[in-house]
């Protein structure tokens, strides 16, 4: 199980809206946003490549999302 802290980059001013719409979907748990263009979230996935694919899907499906950037990735399988 991979846990990643990610920043979701959005269009200017769209952070709040994106935060609300992605929270709870596909393993995403929103932690907060900067009120403008960045959303901080926790993302749990089975493995790293799942995260990659999910990121791409998110960018492709939500026109307000410009990109997903992981800032911290951890493996919680002990």
């Amino acid at each position: 199980m991979i846990v990643a802290g990610v920043v979701i980059q959005t269009l200017s001013g769209a952070a709040g809206e994106v935060a609300r719409s992605v929270d709870g979907t596909s393993g995403l748990e929103v932690q907060g946003d900067d009120g403008n263009q960045r959303v901080a979230a926790l993302w749990r996935a089975v493995e790293g490549s799942t995260l990659e694919t999910l990121s791409e899907l998110l960018v492709a499906s939500n026109e307000r999302v410009l990109g997903v950037f992981p800032v911290y990735v951890g493996d919680i399988d002990v």
């Binding site: 846990v3 802290g5 926790l42 919680i76």
Partner: protein, 751 residues
């Protein structure tokens, strides 16, 4: 309390993500218009390429420049442009007026300075008539500024002694266009570069002097590798790097080579008889009364072998160049600058380039055009088009033409007969009049003749002499000119004012004001307007803004071959440059002049493809111009050729670029010599040489390079401390009055 590993990782991940929300790439990459930053649209301050820019403004100053992706330069800039913010805050920016008292320039108020200027000008005019005063302006001034000066001096004061530094730079190109086509200015545009199959670069070090145009040629060659580049230059410059054929030759013999190319084109049947039949006449001297048969007979003297003998190059290369240029179905584009213009045969050699296009019909179609490259950002818009020379009036009108004078008198609201019927003095003559005492007062705007005039020593004395009263408006002090002046007025610089610049390809664009002028600096139009008021001509120059001047300019261009009445201030503001003619609002502008269907001034039902409406018979002229030598060639006493020019790092006399720290490495002007010559006089790289001509001498450090030609010395022009113009010759082209900076005879010895 224990924290599970899982919890630890989750908390860390969450915390990191949140922390990253606060971390922004401070300063550098954040370019949004937030946090008090704005980006103002403008134009580069330097060469005639006229690249569009956005100036980044923060806290009242320009902190960055980026290219305008929607302008012709597609977002690209050269290094000088990129470093422009540094010129604004240079330590030698002039903030206050200066007046010379007891031999020294001291700070004065604007009131004191302007009162003195008005008094001295007024007195000279009173005592000796209007021709006792003169104006020497610049291809770097805004169009509106040259317009105000032109109106004030020609229609107010009543003298035609209105000149500008484009006389030193573009006058022969003007003469070439006017004699070949009837009107000045190129008929093509930069977009032709994207369609050309063959480039003829002659007398141009495009790589260093018009880098963004060079880059466009490089891109064309990269995307279409079969494109051919021919470079004609005595030196093997960085431009030759992309040449498929470089022809080096004895300076001044390019007339023979160009005639020989024409000879080959005709001999091998690459000429276009039907184009010539429809659109071309032939001429010699001043009369267009020759025939094709005369031209063919004339060309007989210019076989490739004969030309190669004269020029010191290979006949085979001339044939190759001709075959490439003349190739059937190939679009051929020629470009040139000072190598052709700064010559006593400048107009003639310009004609010969036009001849190649006219006899092959390679003109007015995509990629086929003769495009003269302009040196300064507004030589075209302000001085050439605006008529800011001693024989011109605005927008294609000339002093010598009675109808034109009457038109301008009416437009300017002055009584008939106000404008003198005789042209004034061209630049070299103007400074000689100063020397002789016939001219008493000279107003110098935005240029540096104390460094840039040929044979400058003589004219420095003239400016310095007791009998001359010289006023200089400048952004910097000291320069080689302000140090000689009686009054120096602080002028607003580049981003500190707004107005229109017109560059090489007939593109007019608006420089928007980004910041307030430094100290007490004022924009030149305002300084001129105040002088006008003080001299009693306030009603001629009542302007509060350059926008107001522009409104008036639109009325003056209406109905002329330049007609850009559709270019309102607002239209310019919205656009990224517009190409004239543009006769009504909403018109897209003109990429190709003289071409039916593209030029709004050619009737859509015109029977032929092109109409050279600058001439009464609608025909362009192929002029029979023989090879003749430069004014001064090497001899036993002065055995080397001297030529002068730019390097990519610096622009003109360097007053602006020398303040940019990255450019300081190249700030010292050097003499570039061939290894053979270095060996002959016993010098190595870094040694000093003294170079002397009949007019003066100067010392330079030497750069030994294969790019130079044996017997030819190339000296950089941008250094106030090593002035090549002490040595250059002030002989001028009889038609254009442009000096021959590119060729004179010198001796050289180890210093």
């Amino acid at each position: 309390m224990s924290v599970t590993r899982r919890r630890f990782i989750e908390v860390s991940a969450a915390a990191s993500a949140l922390a990253a929300l606060r971390g922004t790439a401070e300063g550098s990459a954040s370019l949004a218009a937030d946090g008090g930053e704005s980006w103002v649209k403008g134009v580069c301050r330097y060469c005639g390429t006229g690249c569009g820019v956005y100036m980044g403004v923060r806290d009242g100053s320009v902190f960055a420049v980026k290219g305008d992706p929607d302008n012709h330069n597609a977002g690209f800039l050269c290094m000088k442009n990129f470093l422009l913010p540094q010129i604004m805050s240079a330590p030698d920016r002039l903030k206050h007026p200066l007046v010379r008292r007891n031999g020294e320039l001291r700070r004065a108020t604007w009131d004191e300075a302007m009162e003195l200027v008005a008094k001295r000008f007024g007195e000279a005019i009173e005592r000796r008539g209007p021709d006792a005063v003169g104006f020497y302006g610049s291809g770097q001034a805004l169009t509106e500024e040259t317009y105000v000066a032109n109106k004030l001096f020609k229609a107010g004061i009543g003298t035609n002694n209105v000149e500008g530094n484009p006389r030193l730079c573009m006058a022969s190109a003007v003469g070439g266009y006017v004699t070949s086509y009837g009107k000045d200015e190129p008929m093509g545009s930069y977009e032709d570069i994207d369609h050309a199959d063959v480039f003829l670069l002659v007398g141009s070090n495009t790589a260093e002097c018009h880098p963004i145009l060079f880059q466009r040629i490089v891109r064309r060659k990269e995307t279409h590798p079969e494109t051919k580049v021919i470079v004609l230059d005595p030196r093997r410059t960085p431009t030759a790097r992309i040449a498929d054929l470089h022809i080096g030759f004895e300076p001044g013999t390019d007339l023979a080579i160009l005639n020989a190319m024409a000879q080959v084109i005709v001999a091998e049947g690459m000429n276009d008889p039907s184009f010539v039949d429809e659109h071309v006449s032939f001429g010699q001297g001043k009369a267009a009364d020759k025939s094709w048969a005369d031209y063919e007979a004339f060309l007989a003297d210019y076989t490739p072998q004969a030309a190669a003998e004269i020029a010191g190059c290979s006949a085979y290369d001339i044939v190759t160049a001709a075959r490439w240029f003349g190739g059937r179905g190939k679009a051929s584009m020629s470009m040139w600058t000072m190598g052709l213009n700064q010559r006593t045969k400048g107009v003639w050699v310009n004609n010969l380039v036009h001849n190649l296009h006219l006899i092959t019909g390679k003109i007015g179609t995509p990629g086929s055009t003769p495009l003269s490259l302009t040196g300064q950002p507004n030589a075209c818009g302000g001085v050439r088009d605006g008529g800011g020379l001693s024989h011109l009036l605005p927008y294609g009108r000339v002093i010598a033409n009675q109808t034109h004078r009457a038109q301008m008198e009416k437009l300017w609201g002055v009584p008939a007969g106000t404008i003198q019927p005789k042209p004034g003095l061209a630049t070299v003559d103007l400074f000689r009049a100063l020397e002789a005492g016939d001219l008493e007062c000279l107003y110098v705007m935005c240029t540096n003749p104390g460094q840039s005039l040929p044979s400058v020593g003589r004219y420095r004395k003239a400016m310095e002499s007791q009998g001359s009263f010289v006023v200089v408006t400048e952004a910097y002090h000291p320069t080689r000119t302000t140090e000689l002046a009686d009054v120096v007025l602080p002028a607003a610089l580049w981003a500190e004012k707004e107005g229109v610049y017109g560059c090489t390809e007939r593109r007019y664009q608006l420089l928007e004001q980004a910041v307030e002028p430094l100290g007490e600096a004022r924009p030149d139009f305002a300084i001129l307007a105040e002088l006008g008021r003080r001299l009693g001509y306030g009603e001629l120059v009542p302007y509060e803004s350059t926008a107001q001047v522009w409104e008036e300019i639109l009325t003056v261009c209406a109905g002329t071959p330049y007609d850009f009445t559709g270019m309102s201030w607002e239209a310019l503001k919205q656009s990224h440059g517009l190409l004239w003619p543009l006769p009504e609002p909403g018109h897209p502008g003109t990429k190709r002049r003289y071409v039916r269907g593209e030029d709004p001034l050619v009737p859509s039902d015109h029977p032929k493809r092109m109409k050279f409406y600058g001439r009464a018979d609608d025909r362009a002229v192929v002029w029979l111009r023989p090879q003749q030598p430069p004014a001064e060639v090497p001899d036993a006493e002065y055995p080397y050729y001297l030529t002068t020019g730019r390097v990519i790092e610096h622009w003109n006399t360097g007053t602006m670029t020398r303040s940019c720290k990255e450019l300081r490495a190249a700030v010292e002007a050097m003499a570039e010599i061939h290894p053979g010559d270095a060996h002959e006089i016993g010098v190595e790289a870094g040694d000093r040489v003294k170079i002397a001509s009949r007019r003066g001498e100067e010392t330079f450090r030497v750069k030994v390079t294969e790019s130079s030609r044996p017997g030819l010395i190339f000296v950089h022009m941008h250094d106030a401390d090593r002035i090549g113009n002490r040595i250059t010759i002030d002989a001028v082209d009889p038609g254009s009055k442009q000096p021959e900076y590119k060729i004179c005879a010198v001796r050289m010895e180890k210093a």
